[in-house]
């Protein structure tokens, strides 16, 4: 097997490449050739294809998400805005809070336990990478019909996965949602949120600067997780044997992640990192290109130094591996020794894999031979952007006209009784204790409010009682009826839930779960929801600080209900003044606010 080096690519410009199998479009492949002025090497093709995927590049959603910045309300609270791993909000007393919600929908359908578990793991690393100690998680979930046989497979697995991972990390679960609707049958929604706390001066960003600084990969060894797609590269370009069978499923190791958290926090405490990035969806491709793209110089990486779990991995596979529980840090040479010592203390494997250069290229080597030479921005931040066509569906009017007034009314006491019983015993109204009992809500000893409260609340300073509250809400049925109003209702509900707990709402994160962006109906729903959230946030004075877009949520041609899930974060000076939902004592008066 010959290595597809940069030099080799220059000399073999006409070699056909499996760009389509990797999900690239003809014009995207052409653009890569134009950027490089030659054909990409296999490793470069691997990087571009993952980084330009919908999941990493937001190519269909970007034009709409821009409104969150353009219409952002004036606020002094925002310390770090959209674009970083997670937004950071000033909550006073020198504290900053970061929070973000992400989806892990498709993996959770394939392998519910591991899909949900690694979803929690991923969002926790995002929060950690900002410099924060993760302090709580939440999990808005949506499943198919409660009595459908496949729900029996998916729901217990997802709940056990969320709990198994979060409990083992020691993160209290302070809220979430469980919704059943047949539209999620083949496509459950597993959204996970994490909240982290730090002091202002501890904020860290994902950028590689300072020529000579070292690039350190630390955490789990790299294995073949989640690289099903890229196997075609290993086979078709270099080797005519059949593609090696690689697991598409990522398996989580929460114990490793717990060590990674404690180790990273100790590294932050000693001020040993310049820039840091977690390894998420696109693994090393993403971490190296994003760090280099956001920084001032270039980067050089010796890929063969990456510690492997499976010695047979090709360089392309190493670049694309989605093995969990890994982080990448930029460290000044003088601090490397101490960095490695702390990793050793926590039994975390750490390896210097490269360094920041004074050039402007991302260069990757394999046993001394160059296999990647790209401008990092073109990989990480200047991917394709699509203006997908969208239009209000022609069925929308009929849907809206078909309102509840047309439904038969219960006639007489018996029918009314039956209707009331049906309502309160429906799975969407029933107690969620079967789920929430499997989640640790007490760990860390700072939980002020958790289930069955409308929002979760965490104390962040023991001496002053400063705290934060977070609520997540969403209603796909409302959003289907009218995506604009539905999205705003979700925002308003989360906002109210935070306010009702006694906290002042400060910031918003969202997870936009929609069908295929190639369907103009879906694209319209998406556009409407974005416009609604941007308008709503402006009106309420709470900026969107980050979030996640999950598209292609559909079974065959049928999309899920458009499901924007909105999280609102609020601050409360003194958690002893929180307002729980229960009546506190006899004789209290009930008021109804609003109309």
């Amino acid at each position: 097997m010959t290595l597809d080096t940069v030099k080799h690519a220059e000399q073999t410009s006409d070699t056909p490449q499996p760009w389509a199998e990797l999900g690239l479009k003809q014009d995207e492949y052409d653009r890569i050739r134009e950027i490089l002025d030659r054909r990409p090497t296999g490793a470069e093709l691997a990087m571009y294809s993952v980084m330009w995927s919908e999941h990493c590049s937001y190519k269909s959603s970007k034009v709409h998400l821009r409104q969150f910045g353009e219409k952002a309300p004036q606020t002094d609270a925002l310390l770090v805005g959209i674009g970083e791993n997670a937004g950071v909000v000033d909550v006073g007393q020198g504290y900053a809070v970061t929070f973000k919600i992400e989806s892990h929908n498709h993996p959770s359908y394939v392998e519910p336990y591991q899909g949900a578990a690694t979803g929690v793991g991923g969002i926790v690393r995002d929060i950690l990478a900002m410099g924060a100690r993760p302090v709580a998680v939440m999990d808005p979930l949506r499943f198919g019909a409660a009595d459908h046989p496949d729900t029996k497979r998916v729901l217990p697995g997802v709940v056990a996965g969320v709990g198994g991972y979060g409990n083992c990390l020691g993160l209290p679960n302070i809220g979430g949602e469980v919704v059943f609707d047949a539209c999620y049958q083949g496509n459950p929604l597993v959204n996970a949120l994490c909240i982290g706390v730090m002091k202002h001066e501890d904020i860290h960003l994902a950028k590689a600067s300072g020529a000579g600084n070292k690039v350190i990969l630390y955490g789990a060894r790299t294995g073949g997780d989640g690289i099903g797609g890229v196997s075609v590269l290993a086979s078709e370009t270099f080797d005519d044997s059949k593609p090696t069978k690689r697991p598409a499923v990522q398996v989580g190791d929460p114990f490793q992640e717990k060590l990674l958290i404690e180790c990273t926090l100790e590294i932050f405490r000693e001020d040993l990192v310049d820039g840091i990035q977690d390894l998420g969806g696109a693994g090393l491709s993403c971490a190296t290109s994003e760090l280099a793209s956001a920084g001032s110089g270039g980067m050089r990486v010796e890929l063969d130094t990456v510690p492997l779990r499976d010695a047979t991995l090709s360089p392309e596979e190493i670049l694309m591996s989605e093995s969990q529980e890994r982080m990448c840090a930029i460290v000044e040479p003088g601090k490397v020794e101490r960095f490695l010592e702390i990793c050793e203390k926590w039994d975390v494997i750490a390896t210097v894999i490269g360094e920041v250069t004074d050039g402007d290229r991302l260069e990757i080597f394999w046993h001394g031979e160059q296999i990647v030479d790209v401008p990092p921005r073109t990989v990480a931040h200047e991917g394709p952007v699509y203006e997908r066509p969208y239009a209000r569906p022609d069925w929308q009017d009929a849907l809206q006209a078909d309102d509840a007034n047309a439904l038969p009314r219960p006639a007489g006491g018996d029918e009314l009784r039956a209707a009331a019983l049906a309502l309160i015993s429906s799975p969407n109204q029933a107690s969620k204790a079967w789920v929430t009992d499997q989640y640790d809500r007490f760990v860390q000893g700072n939980t002020v409010l958790a289930q069955p409260e409308d929002s979760g609340m965490i104390r962040i300073d023991e001496s002053t009682n400063l705290g934060v509250a977070v609520a997540t809400d969403g209603n796909g049925r409302y959003a289907k009826l009218d995506p604009y109003t539905g999205a705003q209702l979700a925002l308003a509900e989360a906002y109210r839930n935070v306010a009702a707990s006694g906290a002042t709402p400060l910031a918003v994160s969202d997870c936009l779960n929609f069908g295929s962006p190639e369907d103009p109906d879906v694209m319209w729903q998406f556009a409407e929801a974005c416009r609604a959230l941007a308008d709503g946030c402006l009106e309420l004075g709470t900026p969107v600080t980050g979030g996640n877009v999950s598209l292609y949520n559909q079974t065959g041609d049928t999309a899920i209900h458009p499901t924007p899930v909105v999280a609102v974060l609020g601050v409360i000076d003194d958690v002893t003044r929180r307002t729980p939902i229960a009546f506190a004592e006899e004789g209290q008066l009930l008021y109804l606010l609003g109309d």
Partner: protein, 83 residues
């Protein structure tokens, strides 16, 4: 009554955090010379009636659909000799 054993192991390419944790503990316990540890499950089924080909086929089916999660696990079925 005959005993049929179903062994379920993670596929070789899948991360096995449990096995790794065990392996990493071995040197501390003074054991070396063990290059790898994988941890899986063992099911012992007590079967009524004869364990013929039909019975084994049914147990294989059970392993495939229920005892193992074939997305990430392999399994092996064997009849255990009576002692």
């Amino acid at each position: 009554m005959a005993r049929v054993v179903v062994d379920v192991m993670l596929k070789p390419e899948i991360l096995d955090p449990q096995g790794q944790a065990v392996q990493r503990a071995l040197p501390r316990l003074g054991f070396d010379g063990i290059a790898d540890v994988r941890q899986g499950k063992r099911f012992e089924l007590e079967v009524e009636g004869p364990v013929d080909d039909a019975a084994l086929a049914r147990i294989r089916e059970l392993a495939q659909t229920f005892l193992a999660n074939t997305v990430i696990e392999d399994f092996a079925v064997k009849v255990e000799e009576k002692q």
